[in-house]
């Protein structure tokens, strides 16, 4: 069971790192998509949504091919870190970034699009720079959207395993995450272990989510 704990820790770490990185990557992408009138915009939107339509194992398979040590990215990573990108935690993170990107971008884009220029203009006349406006105005006004995006991303990263299994190789302590552990218990028809781990995961997730949503209950003034 200690290996299950290892898996839990690894999962939490993976989901947290992925969510954080996607917050950083997804915010500017979503902002551009919400605000731009560029003719390429629909194409970019479509590309962002694409990871969704491929079955995870298949996506994992292609990632495996694109990240292997002989690939451009894989060999670069190998040179830099002396480790392969596939079958490593870093590889898992890269894969998670790809398949969870739409979960971050779409809700953020919706939230950003709902902010009128009015308030941004008002803030600009109070000497707030674009970056300042983002943190002092956009962020608080889209709190609900960020919550949705982060929740979906985190949960999806916890739950996903097709991709992870493929690209991570299920190596204990390195790439064997919780979802794979549960999957293995089911595979080995060790139902009691699968049940208890699933139940634990469910209860934990439920408590975390309920707390997060509970904290969010105070309605954002005016954005009801």
């Amino acid at each position: 069971m200690s290996s299950d704990w290892e898996a839990v820790a690894l999962t939490a770490q993976l989901a947290a790192v992925t969510t954080l990185l996607l917050l950083l990557i997804g915010s500017p992408v979503a902002w551009w998509l919400a605000r731009s009138k560029h003719p390429m915009k629909p194409l970019v939107e479509a590309v962002v949504a694409l990871p969704l339509v491929l079955p995870p194992t298949v996506l994992g398979f292609y990632l495996l091919v694109f990240l292997n040590p002989d690939s451009v990215l894989g060999s670069l990573w190998l040179q830099l870190t002396d480790e392969t990108l596939t079958f490593s935690f870093a590889g898992l993170v890269v894969a998670s970034l790809v398949y969870s990107l739409p979960f971050m971008v779409q809700p953020l884009q919706t939230a950003f699009a709902a902010i009128g220029d009015d308030f941004l203009e008002a803030a600009a006349t109070m000497r707030a720079s674009p970056v300042d406006r983002f943190f002092s105005l956009v962020l608080p006004l889209t709190r609900r959207g960020y919550l949705a995006a982060a929740t979906l991303t985190f949960a999806h990263t916890v739950g996903e395993f097709g991709v992870v299994l493929m690209i991570g190789g299920n190596i204990p302590g390195e790439t064997r995450v919780l979802s794979i552990a549960i999957f293995e218990h089911v595979e080995m028809v060790n139902y009691p272990a699968a049940h208890s781990l699933s139940l634990g995961l469910l209860l934990f997730s439920f408590v975390v989510l309920a707390v997060v949503y509970g904290l969010n209950r105070r309605p954002v003034a005016g954005i009801r």
Binding site: E121, A124, G222
Partner: protein, 365 residues
């Protein structure tokens, strides 16, 4: 005293504008014009909120826009304060939050925050949510917010339209003091000539995307050819005067306007005060005989220098000279015929005390 230069063109939808303004902004400059004339568009162009604007904008030595040279300073670095026609209080911050949003980003000045808050009567509202404010309260918070950002140029778009008369009367001198004492050059949009005369030294008159007239308020308020354009209800005169005596019992102040004596309510005045008088043409009557036993206090010997008779309609304006100063009187054309009035004729101008409005410097403390 800074110079504001605006020479820009652009369009918003089918509305095209070509603003050409070059004026010192010493205190408050009024922006006047009918609905849809483009007053808001002018303010937006100056603030840099309209990205399609091309041309040149500068304030003092600061160049804000010079399309030819490829210069375009973004709004947040222009240091303009803006009171929007539609308020735009930030919805996620309360009243205090909105005020602090502005003041935190502005150059610090001790006591300024408290001054503005008390000057605009905002203490009771400080902990309110902006959604819980009444229309007038919201406008006051918006004004305070713009003042707190200590702008290089303050743009106000009908900031008092939702305020009741007594509040407006209280706020006008305050805004005037702000502009004068703190030397914040201000552009002020309003549909009210009273507000214009009370607050501004100079005025721009807009129509269909252009500035059709620009000059001292006192002068523009006289020009009858601008009346239709500017929707100035009636022309009048805005005169500078000085308080020479106060009568406590009758609460009247004796003023010198050039050589003449006016009496006006003494409230808030002290001897030596410089004040501005607004005399609507409609508040000036003309008598040919010296009137006796009349409630009208200010009776001045005058001479008719011009009769501005359109030749139709009910009214004509009579321009009177009172020892050098000019006053307009709006009378019925019937009166001109029956009195009759002719140019050069000596007469008496009757100015009702109650129609003289004074706006002394207002003290905050």
């Amino acid at each position: 005293m800074v110079q504001l230069l605006v020479d820009v063109s652009g369009q918003r939808g089918r509305f095209e504008y070509r603003w050409q303004v070059e004026t010192p902004v010493d205190g408050v400059v009024g922006v006047f014009g009918p609905n849809g004339a483009g007053k808001t568009s002018l303010l937006r162009a100056i603030a840099g909120l309209d990205r399609s604007t091309r041309g040149r904008v500068s304030l003092g030595g600061q160049i804000w826009l010079d399309s030819a040279a490829g210069i375009e300073v973004p709004t947040h670095r222009r240091g303009v304060g803006y009171v929007f026609q539609d308020g735009r209080l930030l919805p996620h911050l309360g009243v205090r939050g909105n005020l602090q949003y502005a003041s935190r980003r502005a150059p610090a000045e001790r006591g300024w925050f408290e001054d503005v808050v008390s000057g605009l009567d905002l203490e009771p509202l400080m902990s309110r949510d902006v959604h819980d404010l009444s229309g007038g309260e919201r406008q006051r918070v918006a004004i305070a917010r713009a003042l707190l950002s200590r702008p290089a140029l303050l743009l106000m778009d009908e900031p008092l339209s939702a305020n009741d008369l007594s509040r407006r009367r209280a706020l006008l001198p305050y805004l005037r003091r702000i502009a004068n004492e703190f030397r914040i050059p201000t552009l002020y949009v309003s549909h009210s000539l009273d507000e214009m005369v009370a607050l501004t030294e100079a005025m721009l008159i807009c129509r269909e995307g252009q500035v059709v007239a620009q000059g001292p308020t006192a002068e523009l308020a006289q020009r009858s050819d601008l009346r239709e354009v500017s929707d100035i209800p009636e022309a009048g005169a805005a005169l500078s005067a000085q308080v020479v005596a106060i009568d406590r019992q009758t609460a009247l102040a004796e003023l010198n306007v050039g050589q003449h004596r006016f009496s006006v309510p003494s409230r808030g005045l002290t001897e030596g005060d410089e004040v501005r008088l607004q005399i609507h043409a409609r508040d000036v009557a003309i008598a040919l005989d010296p009137p006796s036993r009349l409630s009208i206090r200010n009776v001045l010997p005058a001479e008719v220098v011009n009769i501005d008779d359109p030749g139709f309609g009910t009214y004509a304006d009579v321009v009177l000279d009172i020892e050098g100063a000019q006053l307009r009187s709006r009378v019925t054309r019937a009166a001109i015929m029956t009195l009759p009035l002719t140019v050069g004729q000596p007469c008496f101008a009757l100015v009702k005390a109650a129609s003289i409005e004074e706006h002394p410097a207002f003290d905050l403390h």
